[in-house]
Symmetry: C2
Subunit: 207 residues, 2 copies
C-alpha cells in the first residue's frame, strides 16, 4: 500500500523519514497508535532497529510525529479549502462537510479503517500521561477553538460552546455510525441533523 | 482499588471470576481493553496463568466478558431508572442526563478515567475483526435502537435517526471534552446544547 507522503525537500533523509512514517501510519491504522513500536516497524521496513533509531529516538517521538502528520492532513483537507468560501456564514457548513469527507474517505491510505488517528489516540492514551496524550489533546483543543470561531461567524448570537459541542458531536457520532455500525445512509443522516442544528442553533452564550 | 462487583450467586468460582474481571477492568481502564492479556493479569492477581485459564479460555473471551459487564452496568445506570419516569416524553432527557452521569462519574472504579470501555474498544478494535469488535458493535447498535425509540416517543414526528445521531453525538463530544480536554463547565454546555436540540429537533423522517 502506497500512502501519499507529506512533501519534503527531497533529501534522502527526508524520503526515508517519510517512508518510515507512511509504514507507521499503516500500522497505526490497524492496531492503533500505541501499536507502533520500533522493533516491528523496523522489521516491516526491512531496516535495522538502529537505522530506524537514527530517525526517531523513541517510540513516543514516532507516535507524536504520526499525530502531527495526521493533523496536518486534516487541516489540508478540511480547513484550508475554507479560504475559497467567501461567505463566512457558510464556512461552518463547508467545514462540517469536509470533516465528513475526512471520515468517509480516509486520506491516510486505502484500507485504513480508522480515519481519525487523533481521536483514536485519545481513547488509547486518555489515561496514559505523556507526549502522545498531550499532542492529541492540543490538536483537539485547537480544533474546538476553530469550530467555536466558525460557529460564532455563522451564527452571531450563537451559544458558541454549545454549538461547537453539537457540531463536533455529530462528527464523532458519524465516525461511530460509519466505522463501527456500518450504517447505510450515515452521511445523509448526519447532514439532516446538521441542517436542523443550523436552522435552530443554541443561542445566547452564557460565557 | 476495589471495584463494585456484579452480584453473583456467591460461589467461590463466581467470586474468583468477579475478582478477575474487576482487576481486568482496572487494567482496561488504563491501557484499553486490548491491553488485557492473561499473563500480566495473572501476575497482578497473584494467580497462576493456568488458574486464570480455568476461568477464561482466551484473552478474547475475557475482553468480551469485560465489555458485556460494562454494558450491563451502563444499562443499570442509564436505562433501568427510566422505568420510574411516567412521562414517556421526558425519558429521552432523563436518559441523556444519566449518560452524562455515566461519563462524569465512571462507575467502574475510582481512578478509571476511561468511562466507556465499549466506545474505547470500538476505537481500538475498529479494524480488528473478531469477537471483541462484534460485541462492541452489537452493544452500540442496541443503544442506538433504544435512543431512536426514546426519540420517537419524545418527538412523535421526529426524524428519529437524525435526532439519535445528534443525541449520541452530544454524549460522545462530552466524553472528549471531559476526558481529553478537561473542559470546565462541560456538563452545562452539553445540557444547553441538548435543550436547544429538544426545543427544535430534526423533524420528518426520510426513512
Amino acid at each position: 500500500m502506497i500512502l501519499q507522503s507529506v512533501p519534503s525537500d527531497g533529501s534522502k533523509g527526508d524520503r526515508t523519514r517519510n517512508r518510515i512514517l507512511d509504514e507507521a501510519t499503516a500500522l497505526a491504522s490497524v492496531g492503533g497508535v500505541g501499536s507502533v513500536t520500533l522493533g516491528p516497524l523496523a522489521e516491516r521496513l526491512g531496516m535495522s532497529k538502529s537505522g530506524l533509531f537514527a530517525h526517531f529516538r523513541s517510540k513516543e517521538a514516532l507516535q507524536v510525529e504520526l499525530l502531527v502528520r495526521a493533523a496536518e492532513r486534516f487541516t489540508a483537507m478540511t480547513i484550508e479549502p475554507l479560504r475559497n468560501e467567501p461567505d463566512k456564514a457558510k464556512r461552518l457548513q463547508r467545514f462540517f462537510e469536509n470533516w465528513l469527507d475526512w471520515i468517509d474517505k480516509p486520506p491516510l491510505g486505502e484500507g485504513t479503517a480508522n480515519s481519525c488517528p487523533i481521536l483514536a489516540a485519545y481513547f488509547e492514551f486518555d489515561s496514559v500521561p505523556g507526549p502522545v496524550r498531550d499532542t492529541a489533546a492540543r490538536h483537539f483543543d485547537e480544533l474546538h477553538g476553530l469550530i467555536r470561531r466558525l460557529a460564532a461567524a455563522a451564527v452571531p448570537d450563537a451559544d458558541a460552546p454549545a454549538l461547537c459541542a453539537a457540531v463536533s458531536g455529530l462528527a464523532l457520532s458519524h465516525v461511530v455510525r460509519v466505522g463501527l455500525l456500518r450504517e447505510t445512509g450515515a452521511r445523509e443522516t448526519s447532514l439532516r441533523a446538521f441542517h436542523a442544528l443550523l436552522a435552530h442553533p443554541p443561542r445566547g452564550a452564557s460565557s
